[in-house]
């Protein structure tokens, strides 16, 4: 039967796959190919404009966005984030004490690879690590408080070039490669990968939305979505992608989400931070 034949194929495939040697992983070559793909496919989009997502490729949407940017709907979230950021913890320390340059203008350096834990640390995770180190409970990675904090930190970093480092460390390279694999793997009942939309179809309409290019997508995070009526975190963004293709979302800041953010952020190196972004 069809099913049996299919599973047999799958088993052969999975056992035939060799383990990756670190030497096979070449982020710099990936970066060049990725950049070339987008700039050649969209010769009319200026490189630094990719960070504005669908607005870089649709004139009608761009006009509405510019109108909204006159007084952007995310201002209240940024203001709330600023207040949270500047409010000391019970021990008197602040978020700023956990970051270089007191946390101002540092968004472009995240995610970072942490050699001690062997894990990718996103800005959201770093904020919760900071809270826990100071005796505070972590914030929910899907909720408005985390979105407001990261929105403020992105706001203070606007225009700074994404600056992601992948150290020559087998675990860092493995995390990068896992993120890349997740990005290109088809999933969900609709059998879509992240790349199916954001590499193969940027600028095209999917359902009712214009798809954002993968290049620079993370630079706009976190985003205020009109359909959410509010600011959402990076995790919320990834989770909504999963469920749109009928995949059960992973838990917020799951290792794979952090790895894929690491991969995409490295691909966006040199492009300006545009977050917090406003999107439909």
């Amino acid at each position: 039967m069809l099913r049996k034949c299919f599973i047999a194929v799958a088993i052969v495939v999975s056992t035939a796959q060799p383990l990756l040697a670190a030497s096979d992983v070449n982020p710099k070559a990936d970066f060049n190919a990725f950049r070339k793909y987008f700039t050649e496919r969209f010769p009319n989009v200026k490189l630094n404009d990719f960070v504005n997502g669908p607005y870089s490729m649709d004139e009608n949407l761009r006009k509405q966005w510019l109108a909204k940017e006159e007084f952007p709907p995310y201002e209240f979230a940024v203001e709330k984030g600023k207040q949270m950021f500047n409010t000391p913890f019970k021990n008197g320390k602040t978020y700023g004490d956990c970051f270089e340059n007191k946390g101002i203008g540092v968004r472009q350096n995240y995610p970072k690879f942490d050699a001690k834990s062997g894990q990718v640390i996103t800005l959201d995770v770093a904020l919760n690590q900071c809270r826990e180190a100071n005796g505070e409970k972590p914030l929910n990675y899907n909720k408005a408080d985390m979105a407001a904090l990261t929105a403020y930190m992105a706001f203070t970093s606007r225009g700074k070039a994404m600056n992601i480092k992948i150290p020559d460390n087998p675990r860092a390279l493995a995390a990068y490669e896992k993120g890349k694999q997740y990005f290109y793997s088809r999933l969900g009942q609709f059998n879509f990968s992240c790349a199916s939309c954001h590499v193969q179809n940027p600028g095209n309409h999917f359902r009712t939305e214009v798809v954002a290019p993968a290049l620079g997508l993370v630079n706009a995070l976190p985003i205020y979505r009109s359909k959410w009526g509010g600011m959402g975190t990076t995790s919320r963004r990834f989770r909504s992608c999963n469920s749109q293709v009928r995949g059960v979302p992973l838990k917020a800041e799951d290792e794979l989400y952090r790895d894929v953010e690491y991969y995409l952020s490295y691909m966006a190196n040199g492009l300006p931070i545009s977050g917090p972004g406003a999107r439909p």
């Binding site: 200026k46 490189l47 630094n48 404009d49 960070v51 504005n52 009608n60 949407l61 006009k63 509405q64 966005w65 109108a67 909204k68 940017e69 006159e70 007084f71 952007p72 709907p73 201002e75 940024v78 203001e79 600023k82 706001f155 203070t156 606007r158 225009g159 700074k160 070039a161 009712t208 214009v210 009109s226 359909k227 009526g229 300006p272 545009s274 439909p280």
Partner: protein, 164 residues
């Protein structure tokens, strides 16, 4: 100063906009609440007009008259709304002595979205963001010299904004 020597204008504009929104970067205007004596008065709100289901009934309830089409009204609205929950719409007019502007969304459950009083010395210009339940004709109505004029435009909505 500029970190992107070949940054396009758009990126720079984005950054400048961030700076202009400086209220939240701590450049505040020394704003503070003031006592209620000068406050907006809910009694002025034209409740009846906001209940009407047609353009004619709204205009009758608001102004007691009908409107004629005018090319001296500019209605700036997107052809396709990115999301019906937030549709930027701007109205300006070169008509003389403008005293009021109203914006109607004909296919919304209640047609009147917003009405503005324009006192002498205030320009015939208003920009706002409205919800649209579905694709609809949007009508801008301007009261000039005691008469009503209107202009209309179709806005396509693929994601409805009833949710708000």
């Amino acid at each position: 100063m500029n970190e992107f020597p070949d940054a396009p204008d758009t990126a720079r504009r984005m950054i400048l906009k961030g700076a202009v929104a400086g209220g939240l970067a701590g450049l505040g205007f020394g704003s503070f609440p003031f006592p209620a004596y000068a406050a907006a008065d809910a009694k002025e709100w034209p409740a009846d007009a906001f209940k009407q289901k047609s353009e004619a009934d709204v205009l009758k309830a608001l102004y007691g008259k009908t409107a004629e089409a005018s090319d001296k009204i500019s209605l700036d609205a997107p052809e396709i709304a990115e999301n019906g929950a937030v549709v930027p719409i701007a109205v300006t007019s070169t008509l003389p002595k403008v005293t009021a502007i109203a914006i109607l969304v004909l296919n919304n459950p209640n047609v009147l979205a917003a009405a503005y009083k324009i006192p002498e010395g205030t320009e015939a210009l208003v920009s706002n963001r409205l919800k649209m339940a579905k694709t609809s004709k949007v009508v801008a109505v301007v009261e000039s010299n005691g008469k009503l004029y209107s202009a209309a435009k179709e806005v396509k909505v693929t994601v409805g904004g009833c949710g708000g």
